[in-house]
């Protein structure tokens, strides 16, 4: 970017015209820093590809297109056929194409991780902001709730929720397969973001812009949601990207323990199948699921770190 582009255009006659650098927002600044990192942009590309694939499968199912991933249930060859030109990643016990199952598993994993993240943000962010802003009794109650939740080992807590929620009817809606999974993950993992937002809101509470808002007579709701939250929201984005990986891995473990999606293929279920298959030398189902998870997590890990460095250089690795 050349110097001249940064120069602000103020009204003619102003003494400062031509001298002030153009101010940029936190987001623009972060995006500029992020764009300089080639590896991070490559990883973003990979992540976008996974999301597009998941979205595409949703579309294809909605319009009933008969393409590869939606036809995963069809027999593509013999049982346990090794990788060949016909079936690039081989077939499983029922002769279903492993490639199609892997592609379809993307939809399950992305759906679970996305819904779980949205649930945990929807619970954690408002609670954290309210606790940090009001302090006192409200704060103590919220801190008590999250201290309780965080004193149970994370994976045990998810399992407990998943076991209880599975196949249960809540408000006339039956929680099957992935619904129970993302509810269990979402309801248990808002603690981290809640703690983070609470701490940050406490820090911001006495800053001038909040005092200004109070002096204008803004309502408390307006101060929290229109003034405070936008100023700490970059933490949510960073947390989101790093948590996404953990959710994908949690989904795999839940599916493996038989608490996940039962009827449709998912990466966890594929790895579970591989437990018996490996002894027979059938490695392709295992390898395909592992590779799919590996590339997505790798991209998310690298991109999340780069995002954190760009948006908030002071934040440390957890």
């Amino acid at each position: 970017m050349s110097k001249s582009q940064q120069i602000i255009k103020t009204e003619p006659g102003s003494r400062l015209a031509g001298f002030l650098p153009k101010g940029t927002s936190l987001w623009k600044d972060g995006a500029r820093r992020l764009r300089r990192r080639k590896l991070a942009m490559l990883c973003l590309g990979v992540i976008v590809l996974y999301f597009l694939l998941a979205g595409f499968i949703y579309l294809a199912e909605f319009f009933d297109w008969r393409i590869g991933p939606t036809l995963w249930a069809e027999q593509a060859g013999q049982s346990y056929a090794p990788p060949s030109a016909e079936n690039i990643l081989g077939t499983d016990i029922f002769g279903q194409s492993v490639l199609r199952k892997t592609l379809y598993g993307t939809k399950i994993s992305i759906t679970v991780a996305l819904c779980a993240s949205l649930i945990s943000v929807a619970i954690g962010v408002p609670l954290g902001a309210v606790a940090g802003y009001f302090r006192g009794f409200v704060d103590e109650i919220i801190v008590w709730i999250y201290s309780t939740l965080s004193s149970v080992p994370y994976i045990l807590l998810i399992l407990a929720f998943a076991v209880v929620l599975r196949d249960r009817t809540l408000f006339g809606y039956k929680l099957t397969g992935i619904t129970a999974v993302y509810l269990a993950i979402g309801l248990t993992s808002w603690v981290g973001i809640c703690r983070l937002i609470r701490g940050e809101v406490i820090k911001h509470k006495d800053r001038e812009y909040v005092l200004a808002a109070i002096s204008y007579g803004c309502s408390r709701r307006r101060i929290i949601f229109r003034h405070l939250l936008p100023n700490v929201f970059h933490l949510v984005i960073i947390d989101f990207s790093l948590r996404f990986v953990a959710f994908i891995h949690a989904e795999v473990i839940l599916s493996f323990l038989g608490l996940g999606e039962a009827e449709r293929p998912s990466w966890g279920a594929m790895i579970n199948d591989a437990r018996i298959e490996l002894a027979r030398g059938v490695w392709w189902q295992m390898a395909a699921a592992t590779a799919a998870i590996f590339f997505l997590s790798l991209a998310l890990n690298i991109f999340g770190d780069a995002l954190r460095d760009s948006l908030d250089p002071k934040l440390r690795i957890q």
Binding site: W144, L149, L159, L165, H249
Partner: protein, 312 residues
């Protein structure tokens, strides 16, 4: 110091209460009456009533001295968790599983901590060089491989294919034999995340003024790292290490399940399969208790390691 510990002890009461409330809500309110499920298919009404009577499911939920709510608290606080699906008392099952679980997880724990802290020191020593970058790349790659894949490929290649270790647990094997491979896999899987964390801790510490002073005095790199940096990096290391201990109790659920080691993780996996709420609820409660205790120990450790810390 003692006032602090007493206050800290009092603070654990609401947490334990909260955990009991959580298990009550999850397994009794939301979980509901599972006597029909326990009785199995084709059970008579009498059997179902008997089971209800035994587990106290026929009692009122609240508002009585003999309610399920009060009983849940009473039983949990006295470690009387009732019987599991196979009629064995839950607490006996937990006691039995503790040994194998600890045999598996204690070596993993110490292995991961010792190896990753020393490697982190080495990485801080060679920071900025190709080796350092290589270490970070390997860590991030290791973090991205699912835990299950570590176990499956390790079991397949090391035990099944090359025959270096027994593939599954069997009672006649000596402990060292059946534990070796799971421990190896556990360390390999946990190393990436921990090494990366400890490396960041060390590098953060290296930016401090006292390090520059130490170098300016002409101390050797080794002396600065081991005498100065390591000591100051102890706080974040202790936090991570002590708070990881209660998670040992659960064992490595997946490792035990794959290798058929009859520890707590295996117990948990079985309980999930048979929807045995009593076992899962007891495990949740006990591991939370342990977490609270170790949290207390961490906070006490802080004030021992760093006299500057005065606790609010």
């Amino acid at each position: 110091m003692s006032t602090y510990i007493i206050r800290r002890l009092l603070y654990t009461i609401p947490i334990v209460f909260g955990v009991l409330l959580l298990t009550f809500v999850l397994f009794i309110l939301v979980g509901g009456d599972i006597s029909v499920e326990i009785a199995g298919k084709g059970a008579t009404q009498e059997t179902i009533d008997e089971i209800r009577e035994e587990y106290g499911l026929n009692k009122p939920l609240f508002l009585s001295w003999d309610s399920q709510f009060i009983n849940h608290f009473k039983n949990s606080l006295t470690f009387n968790f009732g019987r599991a699906r196979d009629r064995e008392p839950v607490i006996d099952k937990i006691k039995r599983g503790l040994g194998p679980s600890l045999a598996l997880t204690v070596p993993i724990f110490f292995g991961v901590v010792i190896i990753s802290v020393s490697l982190a020191l080495v990485a801080a020593f060679v920071r900025g060089t190709v080796w350092d970058i290589l270490a970070v790349v390997i860590c991030v790659a290791g973090m991205s491989i699912p835990y299950l894949s570590f176990i499956l490929f390790g079991q397949y290649f090391l035990a099944y294919r090359w025959g270096l270790f027994p593939v599954f647990f069997s009672p006649e094997l000596r402990m060292a034999q059946y534990v070796a491979l799971p421990v190896l896999i556990g360390i390999a899987a946990g190393l990436g995340r921990n090494l990366r964390f400890f490396r960041t801790v060390m590098l953060d510490e290296m930016r401090n003024d006292y390090v520059r002073t130490a170098f300016a005095k002409g101390l050797t790199v080794r002396r600065v790292l081991f005498k100065h940096v390591l000591k100051n990096a102890m706080i974040p290391i202790i936090t991570r290490v002590v708070l990881a201990i209660p998670f040992l109790f659960l064992g490595s659920l997946l490792l035990e399940r794959f290798f058929g080691i009859p520890g707590l993780g295996y117990l948990m996996a079985e309980a999930i399969g048979s929807r045995d709420y009593f076992v899962i609820s007891a495990m949740t409660y006990i591991s939370a208790l342990l977490f609270v205790v170790f949290n207390l120990i961490t906070d006490t450790c802080y004030s021992l390691v760093d006299p500057r810390i005065s606790l609010e």
